[in-house]
Every structure is written in structure tokens, then in C-alpha cells.
Chain length 343, copies 2
Amino acid sequence: MTINDIAKIAGVSVATVSRVMNKKGYVREETRKKVEAIIRDHGYHPNAVARSLISSHSSLIAVIMAERPFSFSSKVLETIESCAGEQGDSVLFYGTGAEQERELRAFSQAFEHQVKGILLLPVMESGEAAVNMIREAEAREIPVVLLDWDLYGEDFDRVVVDNKQVLYDGTRLLLEEGHRKIGVITCREVAKEGSRRRDGYLQCMKDHQIPLKDSYIYDGDFDEESGYDACRTFFALPDPPTAVLACCSSATLGCFHYFKEQNMELGKDVGLVGFDDISLVESMGYPVTTLDRLSREMGRNACSLLYQSMRNGADHKKIVLATRTIRRGSEHMGRCFSLETKG
Amino acid sequence: MTINDIAKIAGVSVATVSRVMNKKGYVREETRKKVEAIIRDHGYHPNAVARSLISSHSSLIAVIMAERPFSFSSKVLETIESCAGEQGDSVLFYGTGAEQERELRAFSQAFEHQVKGILLLPVMESGEAAVNMIREAEAREIPVVLLDWDLYGEDFDRVVVDNKQVLYDGTRLLLEEGHRKIGVITCREVAKEGSRRRDGYLQCMKDHQIPLKDSYIYDGDFDEESGYDACRTFFALPDPPTAVLACCSSATLGCFHYFKEQNMELGKDVGLVGFDDISLVESMGYPVTTLDRLSREMGRNACSLLYQSMRNGADHKKIVLATRTIRRGSEHMGRCFSLETKG
DNA sequence: TGAATGTATGTAAACGTTTACAGATTTGTC
DNA sequence: GACAAATCTGTAAACGTTTACATACATTCA
């Protein structure tokens, strides 16, 4: 069933059918009605492939991310799909598992499918390879937007959380509660965001003239074990911290595990500020203070940035998003919101 | 940069370039080398759109699911993407939010993009609309595979968990621990899987000649609140249950919440068997017995079923997968594995 | 030697749309 | 009634591939 068949049945030319479908150009009301009826009755769907070929861009956008089963990326993806859907576009999803080979394949396939745009979450160990692929996309005039990835400080379109500020705020929260000995668990994440988070802690401690102790800084990975091990290390110290700051959601859970095992009561025996959406913990009845990246906000902003730069193409923008500090059940918005434009 | 440009640069015809790219037909070794070099040097990617048009099917498969931020669906998606990638295909992701309008749009767009196949997780309140769309896909010779959705008992390709058996096993687990008063929380899920789970409980109780009590059966929704409310109801009874069986992961968490709040210790004051991957809970140090649908297995099996029926098209298959009973840290595989074929 | 087969390459049609252009009809204005 | 403008419709080229077919040369075998 093609546009030709529809045209034949309706007794008009393909051009007319095309005009009806696209609501473009002059069509007599009567003709339009007739054609629309035939399209409906025959369950005809125009071939997006042929459409793409002639118009030289598809109605696809690609989302490329390292697979992480946690809620952040999955909420981002959902939001993006929803936004793209509103524009009549579909989402090509690529998980990379942080493997370089799959990353390159994802870009290749996205190119081959003539995507209109690419949304990129942190994926590569080597930022260099990423930069190359983004440059190649640019050469094809395919806009790329980075999510929560301050890649190399290059001037790409991006939506980020000010990770340094977030952890600065988190640290201050603990300081305000009277803690002076604060252990921090950094997450060696891809793309250096982990170290920015660490910088926020360092800066805040410095601003409040609290001497730093190397033993209070634990360089962990992006997993629960890191949180657990960090705590074990911290609390084996002769002078252990009184509070812990976790820089990713997995580590936060690991801390929980340790505290529970040691019968340490949160807020009494030990302070904790977590990271990201750990609403499951909340669901279980634990009031946790956490620094939540607003995944839905991020997805939405990234999409509008992408569509914007499909139209303009010109200047690069950076959107810095607020985080939400969810504080023991009550919640209030963080303050770091700004919108910068860069020529 | 098109195949024409490459052909011109290489001084050969487009047919030759095509043959080189597809490793199909005769090409002199020398010519092949030259063309390959030129393709590589110019970063040429063949246009998948033009390819699809001529071959009348794309290298796309669609995954349509109601969005649930929990780990099950997101792991399934990742696995599918990985399998599709191995076949050189890309995944179109559609979240429906269980809204009928978005569901229809997802199918439409999948059709328009000429997908090779559709993987369908439970999406529709109304199974009827789903059946219609699946029939339409079949009319277009697009294979559809259902995941964990025993839709209407119709003979579609599908990969399912024997939900009745799973809950049967879960109930028996509690019986073996000596419990006789077992509360069950069903989840009114889409597509009746919830009631099959309930049937498993009923059957097991009956087989063990334990009288049923209506007050021990709570019909909940797919959320944490249901788990919490169910427990509140159960333990307000004059003769409350001694153990609880939750039929979805959210409800399991809700139970936790209640037990924690009431200072009821798991395994001592109350028994609990949960559902699905609640590894987060495990991460926090709680040893939970849970009935886990093997999401990765399911994704993998669904893909192979899909690719298989692209080739054959003929008979419909049903794969019944094992679940994994994760029992207080130690784990062993459930026994319900079988592969049925239906003409 | 010449036919048959195998290898290598090119030509051109086809896939299902969109759209520039042209031609035909209607409407409006003086 | 004539001319311009607006409205309606059709023809055909184009998008970037694949592939059936044709052609040409090389090899094999009787």
C-alpha cells in the first residue's frame, strides 16, 4: 500500500495525496475529505523511509549512553522519548556499556540512519574519541547535545548540573548540622564529573577553614561496594568522621549497608548526605538527605536545546540546571540556576 | 558524500562500490582495496535510508513499553539493544506511559519507519487495541514478540514467566518456613499477569489444604503505597498473617517501609517473599528472599525469537522462562523451564 | 580453435516519497 | 468582458541505494 495505490483509488495524482497528508498547498475541501477517508479506511501509513530520502533527514534522534541500570539515565531516556514524540520524532536508543567499539558503532549507525540530532550522555573513557565523533557529527550538520557531561570544557551544546556547586552545598548542609569531620566518597566516573564533585567538597571545607584530611577522602568507583568499603575504612580510623558525603547513588546505598550492619543510626550516630534519586530508600521509610539531579528537567532541556539548534545551528549554549536538595522528607530547590550563552 | 562520489573518486561504477560495501558479488582484490581505502579516508557512511527504501525493510526494530522507571524494563531494553546491535540493527524506543494515544502513535511510527520487528512489553489497559495493532503488524509481515505478557491467550510469539508457578513457589517457600497464615498483595497490573500471580498463591494454599481467608488477600496497584497499605490492613486484623508475599517490586518496598516503621524484624517477627529485582535492598544489607524475573534472559530470548520469526515467519512460539529465587543471599534457579512450540 | 564457464565491471531501473513547474479552472475587479 | 490573481491538480525529476541484466575478458577443457 503506497501513495500510488491511494492516488489510484482516489482517482487523483500522488501529488494531491501528498498535499493532503502534509496539509501543504492547495487542495479542494471535497478532494481532501475523500483522500483522507481512503487513507483511513485502508490503514495507510506513509513510508518514513522514502520521506527521509527525499527530504535528506529522517524523523529520528539518537540517544547514546553508557548503560546504567539506575534510575537517572532511564528517566532521562523516557523524558527524551516523550519530548521527541511530541515533535513527531522517534528515538534511536544506543547503550554502549562504556565499550569503545559499541560507542563507535552507535555513532556510525546514527549517521547511517540520517538522524536529525544526537543526545549524548557520558560514554567514553577517552574523551578524545568522543570529541572526534562529535566533530564528525558537526561536519554533517547534525546537532549534538551533551547531558551532564562537561567534556573537556569544549564549546559544545550541553545541559549540565554544576557538580562542584552541588557537592559544595551538600558539604555545607553537613557543616550546618554541626559536623566538622566529614568523609567524602568520590566516584571515579567517566568524564571527570567525579572530580568536580570532589572539588566542591574541597572548596567548601576550605571556605569554612576546616583542615582537610587525606584519610577522609575515599576514591571509589560507581558502585555500592565503594560506599561500603569507604565507610569501613573511615570508621576504622582512630579519629573517624562524624558524617559521610556520597557522590553517587550507588555509593549512598553502600553507606546504608554499612551503617545498618554496624547498628549506626542515621542522623544520630552518623550524618549522611546522598546523591541522586534514591527514592527507593525513601520508599522504605528512611528519611535521607540527598542531592538529586533533576533527570526529567535535564531530558526536557536537552531536547529543547537540540531542537533549537536544529533550527539555528549557530551559537553554542550551555544550560546549567538546578539540583533539588531533598532534605529528610521536606524538599527545597537548590539555587544554582543560570543560563549562559556563548557565541 | 554519496556512493556516487565514492565511485567517481575511485574511478569505478556505483555498482562496484556497492559490491565492495556488501561483500557480495565479484570484485577484483585490487579494486576492493582501493575502494575500501577511499571509503575509509572520506569517512563515508552508506545512507541506511536509501538502503531501506530499495530493500523495503529497514535495519530497525521497535521496543514499545509502558514506562516504568524500575530496573526490570530498563534491563530488558538494554539487553535488547545489545542483541540487536550484534545483528547490525538499531532499536527504536517508545515509552507509552500507558496512554492509549501514545501507544497508537508508537505503532504508527514503527510502521512508518518500516521496522523489521516489534518487541512489546505490556502496554495497554485495553488488550483489544493491542491485539488490533499486532494484527496490523502481522498483515505487514512484521513479526511481533510479547515479553511477559500472556495477552488473551492468543497465539502470538512470546517470552513469558510462568507467573502462576512463580507465586506458587513463593508461597511454598513460606509454607516450608512454617508459615500458615500468609498475606498476599496482588498487583493490578496491565494484562492480567497480576491475577495469574494471585492464582499461584491460591493454588498452592489449596494444594496444601490451608483454608483461604479473604482478608489475607489485598488487591493493590503497581506501587509502594499498595505494599504499605496492605501491611497496615493485614496487621490491623485480629488474627494477622505471619508472613507476606508481594507480587511486584514496588509493593515489596512498601512492605519494608511498614515493617521498619513498626520495628518488625524480618525473618523473626514476620516473613516476606518479594518480587523481582530488589537488589537495591540487598545492597543496603537486607537479605531478602525474592522471586526475580530474569530480565536479561528475557530480553535475549525475545530477540532470538524475533530474528527467528523474521526468517521463518511461520509457526508461533512460546518460551517459558525460569525465574531465579534469590533466597537470603544464596540463590538457586527455579525449576519451571520449558519450550513449547505451537503450530 | 572454440565453446563453456568463471570473473570483473558497468548501465539503468526500481524503491515511495516530495516538490518545482506547468497547466487548468475559478474568483475578483474594473 | 477582459485581465489578474488565487486556487486546484497533474507531470516528472530527484533523493541514494541495490540488483537484474548486459558486456567483456580470462580461464578451462574437449
